[in-house]
Protein backbone atom coordinates (compact mmCIF):
# COMPACT_ATOMS: atom_id res chain seq x y z
CA UNK A 1 0.00 0.00 0.00
CA UNK A 2 2.98 2.30 -0.50
CA UNK A 3 5.11 4.18 1.98
CA UNK A 4 3.21 4.26 5.28
CA UNK A 5 4.17 7.84 6.03
CA UNK A 6 2.82 8.97 2.71
CA UNK A 7 -0.50 7.15 2.95
CA UNK A 8 -3.51 9.43 2.71
CA UNK A 9 -5.25 9.65 6.03
CA UNK A 10 -8.89 10.07 6.86
CA UNK A 11 -10.83 11.15 9.89
CA UNK A 12 -13.64 9.23 11.47
CA UNK A 13 -15.75 10.65 14.27
CA UNK A 14 -17.15 8.60 17.09
CA UNK A 15 -20.42 8.05 15.31
CA UNK A 16 -18.57 7.01 12.18
CA UNK A 17 -16.56 4.49 14.17
CA UNK A 18 -19.73 3.06 15.69
CA UNK A 19 -21.14 2.72 12.19
CA UNK A 20 -17.95 1.10 10.95
CA UNK A 21 -18.32 -1.59 13.57
CA UNK A 22 -21.94 -2.13 12.60
CA UNK A 23 -20.91 -2.48 8.96
CA UNK A 24 -18.48 -5.22 9.92
CA UNK A 25 -21.24 -7.05 11.73
CA UNK A 26 -23.47 -6.67 8.65
CA UNK A 27 -20.67 -8.21 6.62
CA UNK A 28 -20.82 -11.29 8.83
CA UNK A 29 -17.80 -10.67 11.06
CA UNK A 30 -17.80 -11.55 14.72
CA UNK A 31 -16.29 -8.53 16.50
CA UNK A 32 -13.64 -9.33 19.10
CA UNK A 33 -12.25 -6.47 21.05
CA UNK A 34 -11.30 -5.01 24.42
CA UNK A 35 -13.85 -4.82 27.19
CA UNK A 36 -13.73 -4.47 30.95
CA UNK A 37 -14.25 -7.73 32.79
CA UNK A 38 -12.99 -9.15 36.08
CA UNK A 39 -10.87 -6.11 36.88
CA UNK A 40 -9.01 -6.03 33.61
CA UNK A 41 -9.34 -5.03 29.99
CA UNK A 42 -9.71 -8.37 28.22
CA UNK A 43 -10.56 -9.48 24.70
CA UNK A 44 -14.07 -10.76 24.22
CA UNK A 45 -16.81 -10.94 21.65
CA UNK A 46 -18.33 -7.48 21.53
CA UNK A 47 -21.51 -6.23 19.94
CA UNK A 48 -20.38 -2.73 19.17
CA UNK A 49 -18.83 0.48 20.37
CA UNK A 50 -20.68 0.45 23.68
CA UNK A 51 -18.75 -2.58 24.84
CA UNK A 52 -15.40 -0.83 24.51
CA UNK A 53 -13.67 0.39 27.70
CA UNK A 54 -14.48 4.07 27.28
CA UNK A 55 -12.67 6.16 29.86
CA UNK A 56 -10.67 3.31 31.28
CA UNK A 57 -6.97 2.80 31.54
CA UNK A 58 -4.68 0.40 33.40
CA UNK A 59 -1.63 1.15 35.45
CA UNK A 60 0.94 -1.56 34.85
CA UNK A 61 4.21 -2.38 36.52
CA UNK A 62 6.08 -5.58 37.27
CA UNK A 63 3.56 -7.80 38.99
CA UNK A 64 0.95 -5.07 39.00
CA UNK A 65 -2.17 -4.30 36.96
CA UNK A 66 -4.74 -1.80 38.20
CA UNK A 67 -7.73 -0.52 36.29
CA UNK A 68 -8.17 3.20 36.67
CA UNK A 69 -10.52 5.83 35.40
CA UNK A 70 -9.27 8.29 32.88
CA UNK A 71 -10.18 11.94 32.78
CA UNK A 72 -11.55 11.52 29.27
CA UNK A 73 -13.72 9.00 27.41
CA UNK A 74 -10.99 7.53 25.21
CA UNK A 75 -11.89 4.06 23.93
CA UNK A 76 -8.31 2.81 23.58
CA UNK A 77 -6.52 4.72 26.32
CA UNK A 78 -4.51 1.82 27.73
CA UNK A 79 -1.75 -0.56 26.76
CA UNK A 80 -2.31 -4.26 26.16
CA UNK A 81 -4.11 -6.27 28.84
CA UNK A 82 -3.63 -9.86 29.92
CA UNK A 83 -4.94 -11.33 26.68
CA UNK A 84 -3.53 -11.15 23.21
CA UNK A 85 -5.22 -12.46 20.10
CA UNK A 86 -3.56 -15.85 20.59
CA UNK A 87 -6.68 -17.52 21.96
CA UNK A 88 -8.70 -16.59 18.90
CA UNK A 89 -6.51 -18.63 16.59
CA UNK A 90 -4.58 -21.05 18.78
CA UNK A 91 -7.54 -21.85 21.01
CA UNK A 92 -6.99 -22.96 24.61
CA UNK A 93 -8.99 -26.18 24.28
CA UNK A 94 -9.74 -27.97 21.06
CA UNK A 95 -11.18 -31.37 20.36
CA UNK A 96 -9.16 -32.85 17.52
CA UNK A 97 -11.37 -35.84 16.78
CA UNK A 98 -13.53 -38.57 18.14
CA UNK A 99 -12.62 -42.15 17.43
CA UNK A 100 -14.60 -45.35 17.69
CA UNK A 101 -13.70 -48.99 17.79
CA UNK A 102 -15.95 -50.66 15.27
CA UNK A 103 -15.86 -54.00 13.46
CA UNK A 104 -12.19 -54.64 14.08
CA UNK A 105 -11.21 -51.20 12.96
CA UNK A 106 -10.88 -47.64 14.16
CA UNK A 107 -13.13 -44.91 12.80
CA UNK A 108 -12.06 -41.34 13.18
CA UNK A 109 -14.74 -38.66 13.22
CA UNK A 110 -12.91 -35.43 12.48
CA UNK A 111 -14.01 -32.10 13.90
CA UNK A 112 -15.60 -29.66 11.51
CA UNK A 113 -13.38 -26.67 10.85
CA UNK A 114 -14.57 -23.43 12.39
CA UNK A 115 -16.32 -21.04 10.05
CA UNK A 116 -16.50 -17.86 12.10
CA UNK A 117 -14.93 -14.79 10.54
CA UNK A 118 -13.36 -12.57 13.11
CA UNK A 119 -12.85 -8.84 13.13
CA UNK A 120 -10.15 -7.83 15.59
CA UNK A 121 -10.95 -4.41 17.02
CA UNK A 122 -8.14 -2.41 18.57
CA UNK A 123 -5.21 -4.63 17.67
CA UNK A 124 -1.85 -3.15 18.71
CA UNK A 125 1.36 -3.32 16.74
CA UNK A 126 3.09 -5.70 19.14
CA UNK A 127 0.16 -8.09 18.92
CA UNK A 128 0.02 -7.91 15.12
CA UNK A 129 3.68 -8.85 15.04
CA UNK A 130 2.89 -11.67 17.44
CA UNK A 131 0.18 -13.00 15.13
CA UNK A 132 2.65 -13.02 12.25
CA UNK A 133 5.17 -14.81 14.42
CA UNK A 134 2.66 -17.46 15.44
CA UNK A 135 1.75 -17.89 11.78
CA UNK A 136 5.34 -19.02 11.27
CA UNK A 137 4.80 -21.82 13.77
CA UNK A 138 1.42 -23.07 12.64
CA UNK A 139 1.27 -22.19 8.94
CA UNK A 140 4.76 -21.85 7.51
CA UNK A 141 6.50 -25.04 8.56
CA UNK A 142 6.43 -28.41 6.80
CA UNK A 143 3.05 -29.05 8.43
CA UNK A 144 0.01 -26.79 8.59
CA UNK A 145 -2.37 -26.66 11.55
CA UNK A 146 -5.75 -26.82 9.84
CA UNK A 147 -7.76 -25.40 12.74
CA UNK A 148 -5.41 -22.43 13.13
CA UNK A 149 -5.45 -21.86 9.38
CA UNK A 150 -9.26 -21.86 9.30
CA UNK A 151 -9.47 -19.32 12.11
CA UNK A 152 -6.84 -17.11 10.52
CA UNK A 153 -8.55 -17.01 7.21
CA UNK A 154 -10.38 -13.85 6.29
CA UNK A 155 -9.71 -11.99 9.56
CA UNK A 156 -10.48 -8.27 9.45
CA UNK A 157 -8.09 -6.16 11.48
CA UNK A 158 -8.84 -2.73 12.87
CA UNK A 159 -5.54 -1.76 14.42
CA UNK A 160 -4.99 1.01 16.91
CA UNK A 161 -1.75 2.99 17.06
CA UNK A 162 -0.85 3.15 20.72
CA UNK A 163 -1.57 6.44 22.41
CA UNK A 164 0.47 5.61 25.48
CA UNK A 165 3.08 3.15 26.61
CA UNK A 166 2.17 0.67 29.29
CA UNK A 167 4.82 0.82 31.95
CA UNK A 168 6.19 -2.60 31.17
CA UNK A 169 6.25 -2.61 27.40
CA UNK A 170 9.28 -2.25 25.15
CA UNK A 171 8.12 -2.66 21.56
CA UNK A 172 10.66 -0.05 20.47
CA UNK A 173 13.51 -2.30 21.61
CA UNK A 174 12.03 -5.26 19.73
CA UNK A 175 11.23 -3.25 16.60
CA UNK A 176 7.56 -4.16 16.83
CA UNK A 177 5.91 -0.80 17.39
CA UNK A 178 4.34 1.36 18.62
CA UNK A 179 3.23 2.12 15.08
CA UNK A 180 1.70 -0.69 13.02
CA UNK A 181 2.99 -0.53 9.49
CA UNK A 182 1.27 -3.59 8.06
CA UNK A 183 -1.04 -6.45 8.90
CA UNK A 184 -4.20 -4.37 9.23
CA UNK A 185 -7.15 -3.37 7.11
CA UNK A 186 -7.60 -0.09 8.93
CA UNK A 187 -5.41 1.54 11.55
CA UNK A 188 -6.77 4.17 13.91
CA UNK A 189 -5.06 6.79 16.01
CA UNK A 190 -7.40 8.13 18.65
CA UNK A 191 -7.65 11.88 19.26
CA UNK A 192 -9.86 13.54 21.87
CA UNK A 193 -11.41 17.04 22.01
CA UNK A 194 -13.26 16.43 19.76
CA UNK A 195 -13.27 12.65 19.94
CA UNK A 196 -12.20 11.30 16.58
CA UNK A 197 -9.85 8.87 14.86
CA UNK A 198 -7.22 9.45 12.21
CA UNK A 199 -7.52 6.45 9.91
CA UNK A 200 -4.91 4.77 7.72
CA UNK A 201 -6.10 2.34 5.10
CA UNK A 202 -4.15 -0.94 4.98
CA UNK A 203 -6.05 -2.88 2.33
CA UNK A 204 -8.65 -2.63 -0.38
CA UNK A 205 -11.06 -4.40 1.89
CA UNK A 206 -10.45 -1.77 4.56
CA UNK A 207 -11.02 1.00 2.06
CA UNK A 208 -14.30 -0.59 0.94
CA UNK A 209 -15.70 -0.72 4.48
CA UNK A 210 -14.53 2.80 5.29
CA UNK A 211 -16.23 4.06 2.16
CA UNK A 212 -19.54 2.87 3.49
CA UNK A 213 -19.41 5.20 6.49
CA UNK A 214 -19.13 8.95 6.60
CA UNK A 215 -15.55 10.09 6.88
CA UNK A 216 -13.42 13.03 5.84
CA UNK A 217 -9.93 13.59 4.60
CA UNK A 218 -7.70 14.20 7.59
CA UNK A 219 -6.37 17.69 8.08
CA UNK A 220 -2.61 18.17 8.09
CA UNK A 221 -2.88 19.25 11.70
CA UNK A 222 -4.71 16.08 12.70
CA UNK A 223 -2.15 13.97 10.93
CA UNK A 224 0.63 15.79 12.79
CA UNK A 225 -1.16 15.39 16.08
CA UNK A 226 -1.65 11.70 15.45
CA UNK A 227 1.99 11.22 14.55
CA UNK A 228 3.09 13.17 17.59
CA UNK A 229 1.00 11.00 19.86
CA UNK A 230 2.62 7.83 18.53
CA UNK A 231 6.08 9.41 18.67
CA UNK A 232 5.49 10.31 22.31
CA UNK A 233 4.47 6.72 23.00
CA UNK A 234 7.72 5.55 21.47
CA UNK A 235 9.65 7.89 23.73
CA UNK A 236 7.94 6.72 26.93
CA UNK A 237 8.59 3.01 26.87
CA UNK A 238 8.63 1.48 30.31
CA UNK A 239 11.46 -0.91 29.56
CA UNK A 240 14.42 -1.35 27.27
CA UNK A 241 15.78 -4.66 25.99
CA UNK A 242 19.27 -4.62 24.61
CA UNK A 243 19.04 -7.05 21.70
CA UNK A 244 22.56 -6.83 20.31
CA UNK A 245 23.84 -10.40 19.77
CA UNK A 246 21.26 -11.60 22.25
CA UNK A 247 21.18 -15.06 20.73
CA UNK A 248 24.91 -15.53 21.17
CA UNK A 249 24.65 -14.08 24.67
CA UNK A 250 22.07 -16.58 25.89
CA UNK A 251 23.60 -19.54 24.08
CA UNK A 252 26.95 -18.79 25.71
CA UNK A 253 25.63 -18.28 29.24
CA UNK A 254 23.75 -21.49 29.99
CA UNK A 255 25.63 -21.78 33.29
CA UNK A 256 25.36 -18.16 34.36
CA UNK A 257 24.58 -17.77 38.09
CA UNK A 258 21.67 -15.48 37.23
CA UNK A 259 19.61 -18.55 36.35
CA UNK A 260 19.90 -19.69 39.97
CA UNK A 261 18.90 -16.22 41.07
CA UNK A 262 15.75 -16.04 38.97
CA UNK A 263 14.89 -19.64 39.88
CA UNK A 264 14.76 -18.64 43.52
CA UNK A 265 12.01 -16.13 42.62
CA UNK A 266 10.09 -17.95 39.92
CA UNK A 267 7.04 -19.87 41.13
CA UNK A 268 6.54 -21.85 37.94
CA UNK A 269 2.99 -20.52 37.84
CA UNK A 270 2.99 -20.34 33.99
CA UNK A 271 1.31 -16.91 33.93
CA UNK A 272 3.99 -15.63 31.57
CA UNK A 273 3.39 -18.36 29.00
CA UNK A 274 -0.37 -17.92 29.27
CA UNK A 275 -0.12 -14.19 28.70
CA UNK A 276 2.62 -14.31 26.06
CA UNK A 277 1.21 -13.78 22.58
CA UNK A 278 3.77 -16.01 20.84
CA UNK A 279 4.01 -19.00 23.18
CA UNK A 280 2.68 -21.99 21.29
CA UNK A 281 3.21 -25.06 23.43
CA UNK A 282 0.25 -27.40 23.52
CA UNK A 283 -0.37 -30.78 24.99
CA UNK A 284 -2.49 -33.64 23.76
CA UNK A 285 -4.94 -35.57 25.90
CA UNK A 286 -6.50 -38.84 24.94
CA UNK A 287 -9.65 -39.78 26.78
CA UNK A 288 -12.09 -42.64 26.59
CA UNK A 289 -15.63 -43.27 27.71
CA UNK A 290 -16.19 -45.86 30.45
CA UNK A 291 -17.28 -48.54 27.98
CA UNK A 292 -14.09 -48.11 26.00
CA UNK A 293 -15.99 -47.67 22.76
CA UNK A 294 -15.56 -44.01 22.00
CA UNK A 295 -12.41 -42.04 22.60
CA UNK A 296 -11.45 -38.46 21.99
CA UNK A 297 -8.28 -36.51 21.48
CA UNK A 298 -8.03 -32.97 22.73
CA UNK A 299 -5.38 -30.33 22.41
CA UNK A 300 -4.91 -27.82 25.21
CA UNK A 301 -2.45 -25.07 26.03
CA UNK A 302 0.66 -26.21 27.84
CA UNK A 303 3.68 -24.48 29.29
CA UNK A 304 7.35 -25.36 29.39
CA UNK A 305 7.25 -24.34 33.06
CA UNK A 306 5.37 -27.48 34.01
CA UNK A 307 7.30 -30.45 35.31
CA UNK A 308 5.50 -32.70 32.84
CA UNK A 309 6.52 -30.76 29.81
CA UNK A 310 9.88 -32.48 29.41
CA UNK A 311 8.81 -35.85 30.81
CA UNK A 312 10.85 -38.72 29.40
CA UNK A 313 11.50 -42.26 30.62
CA UNK A 314 10.11 -41.95 34.09
CA UNK A 315 11.47 -38.50 34.84
CA UNK A 316 11.62 -34.98 33.55
CA UNK A 317 14.59 -33.78 31.57
CA UNK A 318 14.04 -30.35 33.15
CA UNK A 319 13.38 -31.26 36.73
CA UNK A 320 14.33 -27.90 38.24
CA UNK A 321 12.74 -24.49 37.91
CA UNK A 322 16.18 -23.21 37.02
CA UNK A 323 16.36 -25.31 33.89
CA UNK A 324 12.75 -24.52 32.99
CA UNK A 325 13.14 -20.77 33.32
CA UNK A 326 16.37 -20.96 31.36
CA UNK A 327 14.59 -22.98 28.67
CA UNK A 328 11.75 -20.47 28.37
CA UNK A 329 13.90 -17.37 28.16
CA UNK A 330 16.56 -18.92 25.93
CA UNK A 331 13.88 -20.21 23.60
CA UNK A 332 11.96 -16.94 23.53
CA UNK A 333 14.91 -14.66 22.89
CA UNK A 334 17.51 -16.91 21.22
CA UNK A 335 16.50 -20.32 19.84
CA UNK A 336 13.36 -18.76 18.33
CA UNK A 337 15.62 -16.79 16.01
CA UNK A 338 17.23 -19.99 14.71
CA UNK A 339 13.84 -21.65 14.41
CA UNK A 340 11.71 -18.92 12.89
CA UNK A 341 14.10 -16.21 11.73
CA UNK A 342 12.79 -13.68 14.22
CA UNK A 343 12.72 -13.13 17.98
CA UNK A 344 9.85 -14.73 19.86
CA UNK A 345 9.44 -11.58 21.95
CA UNK A 346 7.42 -8.60 20.76
CA UNK A 347 8.00 -6.43 23.79
CA UNK A 348 4.37 -6.40 24.90
CA UNK A 349 5.39 -6.51 28.56
CA UNK A 350 2.67 -8.94 29.60
CA UNK A 351 5.06 -11.43 31.18
CA UNK A 352 6.41 -8.63 33.37
CA UNK A 353 3.00 -7.27 34.38
CA UNK A 354 1.41 -10.64 35.02
CA UNK A 355 4.28 -12.33 36.85
CA UNK A 356 3.12 -12.52 40.47
CA UNK A 357 6.65 -11.92 41.70
CA UNK A 358 7.46 -9.29 39.07
CA UNK A 359 10.25 -11.04 37.19
CA UNK A 360 11.34 -8.73 34.40
CA UNK A 361 13.03 -10.40 31.48
CA UNK A 362 14.72 -7.18 30.40
CA UNK A 363 16.38 -7.08 33.80
CA UNK A 364 17.38 -10.72 33.63
CA UNK A 365 19.02 -10.20 30.25
CA UNK A 366 20.76 -7.08 31.53
CA UNK A 367 22.15 -9.00 34.50
CA UNK A 368 23.45 -11.80 32.30
CA UNK A 369 25.01 -9.36 29.89
CA UNK A 370 26.75 -7.52 32.72
CA UNK A 371 28.81 -10.57 33.70
CA UNK A 372 28.63 -12.67 30.56
CA UNK A 373 31.22 -15.40 30.08
CA UNK A 374 31.48 -14.56 26.43
CA UNK A 375 33.01 -11.15 25.90
CA UNK A 376 31.95 -11.09 22.26
CA UNK A 377 28.34 -11.78 23.12
CA UNK A 378 28.15 -9.08 25.74
CA UNK A 379 29.32 -6.38 23.36
Amino acid sequence: MGDPAARPRHTLDLDGFARLLRELVIDGYQLVGPTVRDGAIVHAEIAGIDDLPAGWTARQEAGTYRLERRGDRALFGYAVGPQSWKQQFFVPRLRLFQIRRRAGSLEVEPEPLPATRLALIGARSCDLHAIEIQDRTFLNGPFVDADYAARRRDVFVVAVQCGQAGGTCFCVSMNTGPRSEAGFDLALTELVEPHRFVVEIGSERGRAVLDRVAHAAATAQDVDTADAIVAETARSMGRVMETTRIKELLYANAEHPRWDDVASRCLGCTNCTLACPTCFCGSVEDTSDVAGETAERWRRWDSCFTLDHSYLHGGSVRATLRSRYRQWLTHKLASWIDQFGVSGCVGCGRCITWCPVGIDLTEEVRAIRATSVDEGASA
Binding site: L312, H313, G314, G315
Partner: protein, 152 residues
Protein backbone atom coordinates in the same frame (compact mmCIF):
# COMPACT_ATOMS: atom_id res chain seq x y z
CA UNK B 1 59.79 -62.87 21.37
CA UNK B 2 61.76 -62.14 24.50
CA UNK B 3 60.16 -60.36 27.41
CA UNK B 4 62.11 -57.26 26.53
CA UNK B 5 60.82 -57.29 22.97
CA UNK B 6 57.24 -57.77 24.16
CA UNK B 7 57.72 -55.00 26.66
CA UNK B 8 58.97 -52.60 24.03
CA UNK B 9 55.72 -53.15 22.09
CA UNK B 10 53.38 -52.66 25.04
CA UNK B 11 51.66 -49.31 25.66
CA UNK B 12 52.85 -49.37 29.28
CA UNK B 13 56.41 -48.89 28.06
CA UNK B 14 55.52 -46.29 25.46
CA UNK B 15 58.08 -43.51 25.25
CA UNK B 16 60.74 -45.21 27.32
CA UNK B 17 64.36 -45.06 26.22
CA UNK B 18 66.43 -48.19 25.55
CA UNK B 19 68.17 -47.85 28.94
CA UNK B 20 64.86 -47.45 30.73
CA UNK B 21 63.45 -50.47 28.90
CA UNK B 22 66.46 -52.50 30.02
CA UNK B 23 65.85 -51.51 33.64
CA UNK B 24 62.17 -52.39 33.48
CA UNK B 25 62.72 -55.61 31.52
CA UNK B 26 64.93 -56.85 34.32
CA UNK B 27 61.73 -57.13 36.38
CA UNK B 28 59.77 -58.95 33.69
CA UNK B 29 59.15 -62.48 32.53
CA UNK B 30 56.57 -64.04 30.22
CA UNK B 31 53.60 -65.89 31.59
CA UNK B 32 50.85 -67.70 29.73
CA UNK B 33 47.45 -68.53 31.12
CA UNK B 34 45.11 -71.10 29.67
CA UNK B 35 41.39 -70.56 29.13
CA UNK B 36 39.67 -70.34 32.50
CA UNK B 37 42.93 -70.17 34.46
CA UNK B 38 42.96 -67.88 37.49
CA UNK B 39 45.66 -65.19 37.32
CA UNK B 40 45.22 -63.78 40.80
CA UNK B 41 42.71 -64.02 43.60
CA UNK B 42 40.88 -61.49 45.73
CA UNK B 43 42.58 -61.15 49.12
CA UNK B 44 46.01 -62.50 48.07
CA UNK B 45 49.11 -60.28 48.33
CA UNK B 46 49.56 -58.15 45.20
CA UNK B 47 53.18 -58.94 44.36
CA UNK B 48 53.16 -58.46 40.59
CA UNK B 49 51.62 -56.45 37.80
CA UNK B 50 50.60 -57.98 34.49
CA UNK B 51 50.82 -56.43 31.08
CA UNK B 52 48.40 -58.22 28.77
CA UNK B 53 50.01 -58.99 25.45
CA UNK B 54 47.24 -61.08 23.93
CA UNK B 55 43.97 -62.72 24.95
CA UNK B 56 41.20 -61.62 27.32
CA UNK B 57 40.94 -61.44 31.09
CA UNK B 58 37.89 -60.86 33.26
CA UNK B 59 37.83 -59.10 36.62
CA UNK B 60 35.30 -60.78 38.89
CA UNK B 61 33.93 -60.51 42.36
CA UNK B 62 32.46 -63.42 44.21
CA UNK B 63 29.26 -62.37 45.91
CA UNK B 64 27.69 -64.69 48.52
CA UNK B 65 24.54 -66.37 47.21
CA UNK B 66 25.05 -64.86 43.77
CA UNK B 67 28.25 -66.51 42.69
CA UNK B 68 30.96 -64.86 40.64
CA UNK B 69 29.90 -61.60 39.00
CA UNK B 70 31.92 -60.51 36.00
CA UNK B 71 32.77 -56.82 36.22
CA UNK B 72 35.08 -55.93 33.38
CA UNK B 73 37.18 -57.40 30.58
CA UNK B 74 40.76 -56.38 29.94
CA UNK B 75 42.65 -57.32 26.81
CA UNK B 76 45.81 -56.76 24.78
CA UNK B 77 47.50 -53.51 25.68
CA UNK B 78 45.88 -53.21 29.09
CA UNK B 79 47.52 -53.06 32.48
CA UNK B 80 46.13 -55.77 34.77
CA UNK B 81 46.47 -55.04 38.42
CA UNK B 82 46.73 -51.78 40.31
CA UNK B 83 46.94 -52.95 43.91
CA UNK B 84 50.72 -53.59 43.58
CA UNK B 85 51.51 -49.88 43.66
CA UNK B 86 52.11 -49.81 47.37
CA UNK B 87 53.95 -52.37 49.51
CA UNK B 88 51.66 -54.72 51.38
CA UNK B 89 48.83 -54.30 48.87
CA UNK B 90 46.30 -57.07 48.30
CA UNK B 91 44.16 -57.89 45.29
CA UNK B 92 40.55 -56.75 45.65
CA UNK B 93 39.17 -58.75 42.74
CA UNK B 94 39.71 -62.09 41.03
CA UNK B 95 41.34 -62.09 37.60
CA UNK B 96 40.71 -65.00 35.28
CA UNK B 97 41.79 -65.65 31.68
CA UNK B 98 38.70 -65.99 29.50
CA UNK B 99 40.78 -67.04 26.50
CA UNK B 100 44.38 -68.29 26.26
CA UNK B 101 46.21 -65.18 27.45
CA UNK B 102 49.81 -64.14 27.12
CA UNK B 103 51.18 -61.67 29.65
CA UNK B 104 54.36 -60.07 30.90
CA UNK B 105 54.60 -60.44 34.65
CA UNK B 106 56.61 -57.77 36.42
CA UNK B 107 57.64 -58.26 40.01
CA UNK B 108 56.06 -55.46 42.03
CA UNK B 109 58.94 -54.92 44.45
CA UNK B 110 61.37 -54.83 41.53
CA UNK B 111 59.28 -52.22 39.72
CA UNK B 112 58.82 -50.11 42.83
CA UNK B 113 62.61 -50.18 43.41
CA UNK B 114 63.33 -49.16 39.83
CA UNK B 115 60.87 -46.29 40.15
CA UNK B 116 62.50 -45.10 43.36
CA UNK B 117 66.07 -45.33 42.08
CA UNK B 118 65.36 -43.77 38.68
CA UNK B 119 63.01 -40.85 39.27
CA UNK B 120 62.70 -40.02 35.59
CA UNK B 121 61.64 -43.56 34.77
CA UNK B 122 59.55 -43.56 37.92
CA UNK B 123 57.62 -40.52 36.76
CA UNK B 124 57.07 -41.99 33.29
CA UNK B 125 55.67 -45.21 34.71
CA UNK B 126 53.57 -43.41 37.26
CA UNK B 127 52.08 -41.34 34.46
CA UNK B 128 51.15 -44.47 32.55
CA UNK B 129 49.53 -45.90 35.64
CA UNK B 130 47.56 -42.70 36.25
CA UNK B 131 46.41 -42.73 32.65
CA UNK B 132 45.25 -46.36 32.93
CA UNK B 133 43.54 -45.54 36.23
CA UNK B 134 41.76 -42.57 34.67
CA UNK B 135 40.45 -44.58 31.73
CA UNK B 136 39.37 -47.36 34.05
CA UNK B 137 37.61 -44.89 36.33
CA UNK B 138 35.71 -43.30 33.45
CA UNK B 139 34.47 -46.68 32.31
CA UNK B 140 33.58 -47.78 35.81
CA UNK B 141 31.66 -44.56 36.40
CA UNK B 142 29.61 -45.10 33.25
CA UNK B 143 29.06 -48.71 34.20
CA UNK B 144 27.92 -47.75 37.66
CA UNK B 145 25.31 -45.32 36.30
CA UNK B 146 23.28 -48.36 35.26
CA UNK B 147 22.09 -46.44 32.24
CA UNK B 148 20.14 -49.34 30.81
CA UNK B 149 17.80 -49.38 33.77
CA UNK B 150 14.10 -48.60 33.43
CA UNK B 151 13.35 -46.51 30.42
CA UNK B 152 16.67 -46.98 28.67
Amino acid sequence: MTPRELLARHPFAHGLSEVQLDRLAACARSARFGEGEVIFRDGRPATALYLIVDGRVVLEQHVPARGSLQLENLAAGDLLGLSWLFPGGHWILDARAVEPTETLVLDAECVRTVMREDPVLGLALATHVIHALYQRLERVRLQRLDIYGAGA
